[in-house]
Subunit: 375 residues, 2 copies
């Protein structure tokens, strides 16, 4: 077991009716004015907006709104919000949405306190020394952004989708009300679940020696998602399945499944997937249902042990692919209409990150092989 530091200072309020408490919590830290960050129409459909706005008004908290965060959130949006805050400062950034909205809120919270362009912070050219507090409401569970210190932002100008981290990026508060996820499209529930599973798999297939305790924990969360997704496809309003799904997703990438690992996960699947999101705006979950099995297939040739354990305790790789497919998720590049002639472009984008991964260090030729498998 390797040394580690465990630190997750976020307060999580979880369960039915909890979104109505957001105003009380924000007022509790003395804040008077906040910026709401949201995506599209889903916050209205789910009722989240109404609950949050009512709670803020009841607590006499002024709010300004920034709507329109898309999946694979973009740096331009972050810059606009920061520019707005320069004119109208606020005390707290309040994401109401899923991982993209949370990531955007974190980037805004850091950028608002940085005297320069936010992309410097994403690129690690400058370090985060101060942020506005982030206190949010989760309406789509997947990335665990609500409980971790990571934000992923895309820059189309530079053709980069990058993640950045800081201990200051943990939200101060995240409210997870599973009922707000009843109205999510089935595709999003599936993609979010696959993303959460991928967060486990990146660790399960890290390639180093994994403490038995950790592997056992990983398998609990994989089984949980494999149990919840079919239940939610059958009945999107199954509260217990929504709740288990939401809590599982939060725990899969808050760092607790890395404790004792040599690295904190491999993350090649994510990096391969980021290229798809960047070029084709492929939803993050879809990029993973395609790239993750291809990556596992390729790297397991060099060390078959983790896949043998996975096959014995969870399922084989073919069964994993057919499970994803049965949920309506793509498992090949062809299915999402990536032309074969684009493989080179994808490989170039990933390869420019330098050799990636921990299970097997992936050079350009390895990335070509994986991309071919995924095609």
């Amino acid at each position: 077991m390797n040394n580690f530091t465990w630190f997750i200072p976020t307060i999580v309020m979880f369960g039915k009716g909890t979104a109505t408490k957001i105003g009380d919590q924000i007022a509790g830290i003395g804040a008077k004015k906040i910026m709401l960050i949201m995506g599209g129409q889903s916050v209205f459909k789910s009722g989240a907006y109404e609950q949050v706005a009512e709670s803020l008004k009841r607590n006499k908290i002024e709010f300004i709104e920034m709507t329109g965060v898309k999946s694979n959130p973009r740096v331009e949006f972050v810059r606009e919000a920061i520019a707005r805050l320069a004119v109208t400062p606020v005390d707290v950034i309040v994401p109401v949405g899923g991982g993209s909205v949370y990531d955007t809120a974190k980037a805004i919270a850091a950028g608002a306190k940085y005297n320069g362009d936010i992309w410097d912070l994403v690129k690690g050219k400058a370090s985060i020394s101060k942020t506005l507090p982030v206190m949010g409401v989760v309406t789509a569970s997947a990335t665990s952004s609500e409980m971790n210190n990571i934000a992923v932002i895309s820059n189309h100008e530079t053709e980069e989708k990058l993640s950045f981290t800081s201990p200051l990026l943990y939200p101060r508060l995240s409210i997870i009300d599973p009922e707000l996820q009843y109205t999510l499209p089935e595709r999003q529930t599936v993609a979010g679940g696959i993303d959460a599973m991928a967060h486990v798999m990146e660790r399960y297939f890290e390639g180093n020696e994994i403490p038995e305790l950790l592997w056992d924990q990983h398998e609990v969360f994989l089984r949980s998602m494999l149990r919840c997704i079919p239940r939610l496809r059958a009945n999107p309003r199954d509260y217990d399945a929504r709740a288990e799904y939401a809590w599982t997703a939060a725990l899969c990438h808050n760092g607790s499944l890395s404790c004792g690992l040599k690295n904190r996960g491999d993350f090649s699947s994510h990096k391969l997937g980021h290229a798809l999101s960047l070029f084709y705006d492929t939803p993050h979950g879809d990029s993973l249902s395609i790239m993750m099995p291809a990556w596992i297939e390729y790297v397991s040739k060099f060390n078959p042990l983790p896949l043998e354990r996975f096959t014995k305790n969870i399922m084989g790789l073919d069964e994993l692919r057919s499970t994803f497919r049965s949920w309506g998720a793509p498992v090949t590049l062809r299915e999402i209409k990536v032309p074969e002639c684009d493989i080179e472009r994808i490989v170039d984008n990933v390869a420019k990150l330098g050799p990636i991964g921990t299970f097997k260090i992936l050079e350009r030729e390895d990335i070509i092989e994986i991309t071919k498998i995924s095609w």
Copy 2:
């Protein structure tokens, strides 16, 4: 799945050599003077004292020492330390030890900022509004006091062993170096492991509907202890087993295994065991290896389902008892030489807490039955 709040603000530094960082961490919050809280000789034997003292000196941190915390720590010790702090104030309370030392440190940290007798806070007659920060080093894992907001203190004058909690009782920092546990007596390793298992069992056998995710998590930690204890009996210097044991113990009672439960565990076994510790100074772990199986045997008559699942996925109740016995832990009151005529006295002490438990609400007559089984 029931609503819950998750909040564990403690920073945990885990692994080899981490105790040598305590001074840097304390200096990092600007503290100049601290009070060290310790038990007996074990901190010298393990090398913990030397490492901590050296680290404090290197960081020019002055320290005063209070040694002599015993298992089932007493309020008199806490009062003495608080009286001493009134004369010589410090910035941080630094436990170096196991659960008893940590619990004592927490009580001192709260009492030092309370204008009245510490027993008022334990009894809940007054609430904790401020504490000194607690930053410690774990040298015996078991209770998860290093990562939770609970302290258990005994008062022999009033014949009470009581736990008290507050969000302010989380340590600010806990350093867990598994190597410092190499020199623990085998009996303590066994008792600590059983205590950690009991923290899981109190939840597993809460009696309410348990979300599948939680039950699965519980089983992972039970299996972990069942795997580590025999390895450590065979080789107390098995680093990976020490590490897995220590991290498992920390996670078993930091609240994360209660998320979504109706209650936060039953805790009848603990309350039954507290009476033994109070009257016979029975080590906490021993009190549990005796009382827990008796309690499960009794309450399972009223709802056999959890025991059926436990039997299928972990082991039967007879096997649990014989496992404890094979580790040298007592499983009956007779073995620890409690005379049969004392049963009444034990029952009286537990019954005065009022009806206890959640799996089955235990009245006086139930407590008599369980105590008889345990004899």
